[in-house]
């Protein structure tokens, strides 16, 4: 087998966000605005700490985008001109049980991750009598069923030493009840801690060179994956408990914070969220690979995805990697969903022995994803899909659970207008399309034809 195929296969791992070398800036072909540039500007210009929401489809590239933001902040890139930031990416699922989470634990997870990263990257050990004293409780709350031999672990060792806790929900509940009464104290203590970090930054380095960092930016990734908050029903009720009822608390940090939030929720109650967080949520739409009206190819978007493929293959020209027909086929059926495109490429490398990857291999690769979509659509949902495909408005009611489910399992994809000429989020207007694979399924075609007939 061709070495290039092997390398390309392994360079397209669906579980790993893009590395800095692999990162592609899709801004102008996603529409919806310039996330990194605008958030940095807000950090720089705002007197008060910024707390912002960030959302997008599963696998649309949110983590890659957040990693890139962290990279920009750390290297003090051109997007953040004034202040220097120490970014802390908190992977919420490293700490939280996504089916039994609480606001309190989110706070604790943030503290633990800040402590860990300051220690690892800057050699700074946080000193806080309060957290030291509370450590045993925090540890048991975040890592409840893990046996710990060491009696006293410093705060920063939490994740590294203990690993993820696994469902032991009863003992966690008792502990949580005890800690909950401390919640107001906890947020104050965290803020004192954040202020002391800024002070440490300011003290640490020689004046003439200027401090290495001035402030901290907390990026809470994968918070959108929380399915259930303790004591709440799963789904919408839990999401509201977290992002609406919890907004006050999440806004209280004396530091810039970005939280990831589920796309369906943003689409359902966007104005309310805007009021609570003081700014509209940032949305990372899918890359546009086709137009809104007649699914006509959108070449700019396709070129960007091709660029991504080249960065992963570390080879040019593209014709050496994949034939134009093969590439077109993958682009036609990925819907601009970045992870799906990568999975196609990865699969296509297995369907051939030689480069360039040909059309036949591309077809086989796409074929292997069909079941992923065909198997999830319920009988009553075909009609909804047909309706969307035939509608002129291309709008989608995310308050309807059956429709929201289709958005969440990627049978329906969200796109945005705006793009190359529009750089502000206010100009962005979402629209929706049925996934191109779903459009080829027999039951979809039947439902669409039936609906078309009824109309005429």
């Amino acid at each position: 087998m061709d070495e290039l195929l092997k390398e390309l296969y392994n360079a397209c791992h669906p579980l790993l966000p893009a590395s800095t070398e692999q990162y592609v800036d899709f801004t102008e072909v996603r529409g919806g605005g310039v996330f990194i540039k605008q958030i940095c500007q807000e950090f720089d210009e705002s007197d008060e700490p910024v707390s912002a929401l960030f959302t997008g489809h599963l696998g649309s590239g949110k983590s890659s985008e957040l990693e890139q933001l962290a990279y920009e902040l750390r290297r003090h890139g051109p997007e953040c001109r004034h202040r220097r930031y120490f970014p802390v990416v908190v992977n919420a699922v490293d700490y939280l049980d996504i089916f039994d989470a609480s606001l309190l634990e989110i706070l604790l997870a943030i503290v633990a991750e800040i402590a860990l990263q300051l220690k690892e990257k800057e050699g700074i050990e946080l000193k806080s009598g309060y957290f030291q004293k509370r450590w045993e409780e925090i540890r048991r709350s975040l890592f409840s069923d893990v046996e710990v031999k060491e009696a006293e672990l410093p705060l920063w060792m939490g994740k590294a030493k203990l690993g993820l806790k696994e469902a032991d929900r009863n003992s966690r509940k008792q502990l949580r009840e005890r800690l909950e009464t401390h919640q107001p104290t906890l947020i104050n203590e965290i803020n004192l801690l954040l202020i002391s970090i800024r002070d440490t930054f300011a003290q640490k380095l020689p004046r003439d060179a200027g401090p290495k960092y001035q402030d901290i930016v907390i990026i809470v990734d994968n918070l959108d994956r929380i399915q259930q908050v303790a004591g709440k029903a799963e789904g919408v009720e839990s999401e509201r408990a977290l992002f609406v009822d919890g907004a006050k608390l999440l806004n209280e940090f004396r530091a810039n914070v970005i939280y990831t939030i589920p796309l369906g929720m943003v689409r359902a109650i966007e104005p309310q969220l805007e009021a609570l967080y003081g700014r509209r949520p940032f949305i990372l739409p899918n890359v546009k690979t086709e137009g809104r009206e007649g699914h006509e190819p959108f070449d700019k978007g396709r070129a960007k995805l091709t660029e991504m493929l080249l960065k992963r293959a570390k080879k040019t020209p593209i014709d050496d990697v994949i034939t134009p027909e093969g590439l077109k086929f993958l682009l036609d059926y990925c819907g601009g969903h970045v992870r799906q495109f990568m999975i196609f490429v990865r699969q296509a490398t297995l369907e051939t022995n030689v480069t360039p990857i040909d059309l036949k291999s591309a077809e086989k690769a796409v074929q292997k994803s069909v079941t992923m979509y065909s198997t999830t659509i319920k009988t009553e949902q075909w009609e909804m899909l047909a309706e969307l495909d035939l509608s002129e408005s291309k709008s989608w009611d995310n308050n309807d659970p059956a429709r929201r489910e289709l958005l969440e399992n990627l049978c329906v994809l969200e796109y945005m207008n705006g793009g190359e000429n529009e750089t502000i989020f206010e100009a962005a207007e979402p629209w929706y399309a049925v996934h191109p694979i779903v459009r080829e399924l027999r039951l979809f075609k039947t439902a669409r034809a039936a609906r078309e007939q009824k109309k005429s």
């Binding site: 087998m1 195929l5 092997k6 296969y9 392994n10 791992h13 669906p14 579980l15 599963l58 696998g59 992977n91 699922v93 490293d94 049980d97 996504i98 089916f99 690993g163 993820l164 696994e166 469902a167 994956r225 399915q227 799963e234 992870r339 999975i343 990865r346 699969q347 490398t349 297995l350 369907e351 059309l359 036949k360 077809e363 086989k364 796409v366 074929q367 292997k368 994803s369 069909v370 079941t371 992923m372 065909s374 198997t375 999830t376 009988t379 969440e408 399992n409 990627l410 694979i437 080829e440 399924l441 027999r442 039951l443």
Partner: protein
Amino acid sequence: MTTEAANKSDIFNPLLTDNDSQRATLARELRVAKGFTLIFALCNSAAERAQQIAALRSELPDLNIQEVPVRTEIPHLLQHLRHTLETPPPDAVFVYGMENWIRSDTNPRSIPFILNLNAARNHFIEDCPCPLILWIPDFLLRQIIGGAPDFASVRSGLYVFAASQNEAAKTIETLEMLGLTEALGLDLSDKHQRIKEIEQLLSRVKHLPAENRNRQDQLYLIDQLATMYFAMGRYTEAESLLNEALQLRRASLPDGHPDIAQSLNNLAGLYYSQGRFAEAEPLYNEALQIDRAALPEGHPGIATDLNNLAELYRSKGRYPEAEPLYHEALHIHRASLPDGHPSIAISLGNLAGLYQSQGRYAEAEPLYHEALQIHRASLPDGHPDIATSLNNLAVLYEIQGRFAESTALYREALAIVERALGTEHPTTKIVRENLDTFLREQGE
């Protein structure tokens, strides 16, 4: 393998898969993949899965493949793997068997096994440092996408293995045709006797001058004779009779008369049992349309139509279309018939068959049991429908590896059909073949 470009609609037909080429690509992925790689291998049949795994092993002799069967409930796959994974880690780990305890009608977000897949997603990289292949029926993929969307979304390959036709042929489906249950219950000499009687009556009716002929009697006789031939497996004779009956009814009755629907069902049933699905489908559809318009809601005749059309969809692998029809049929039967009526058992058995084709074993089993119970209680001893129930339950046990339970059921089923249908009847042949294959495989 042909080399011309694939037909576009074939690419998007999830039912069209070629097991050998799927396996070849999977083998290639196992060679290339480094570290944790999530691969789904969809296979609705436990027996087919075992064959595919054996084939992979022989094609990849240098790879160390560890199999981890999970036939009883565990809450946490990754934790389970932490304890069971060999050191050093194998080149790939195959996990299967969850269909024995996960049901498709349970909310996936209440199944700890599925929830924990999602929760622990990011930890698979460290704790399962090799490709993880989940061998699951397609309903379980749906459950995983529903309850562990983040886990499912980082999958790499997705391979679909169709169950072999042999296995589908092991299960005996029951079509509902007028009088068929009764006809099947007769022993061989009674059947011969009955056929002779009907043929004599029919030839007498036909020799009457047209104006004296009782059209209803004539049609009744034709149907009866066709049913007898059908029960004897003499399909050619049955077909021409059923065609004749349909033509006569279309000519003499107003459009949309329920008797036309009955005639359509009978002819379609015959096509169906010969595997002539394309011819059967429009007839079943027309029958259902007629009955829905002509009969009151919840009439058992509608259930019959639904059941027959569902059987057809199931045979073609169109499971999502079949399921609501089966459910509606069962609902109608339960609401309109007395408890323990054989039609309820037929509905149950057929729905169970659908579940089995989808790998939904945990749901199929109680339905088969109920069907068998009803058949035993409502039919005379030795009725072939009892044997059908026995055979189908035996098949389910066999593919689950529950061999001891399977043998006894096959033997009892065979004894019944041999006595009731003779040794050369297609049903008898199926049961005998099932038992023989089973014993041969067990003997190995």
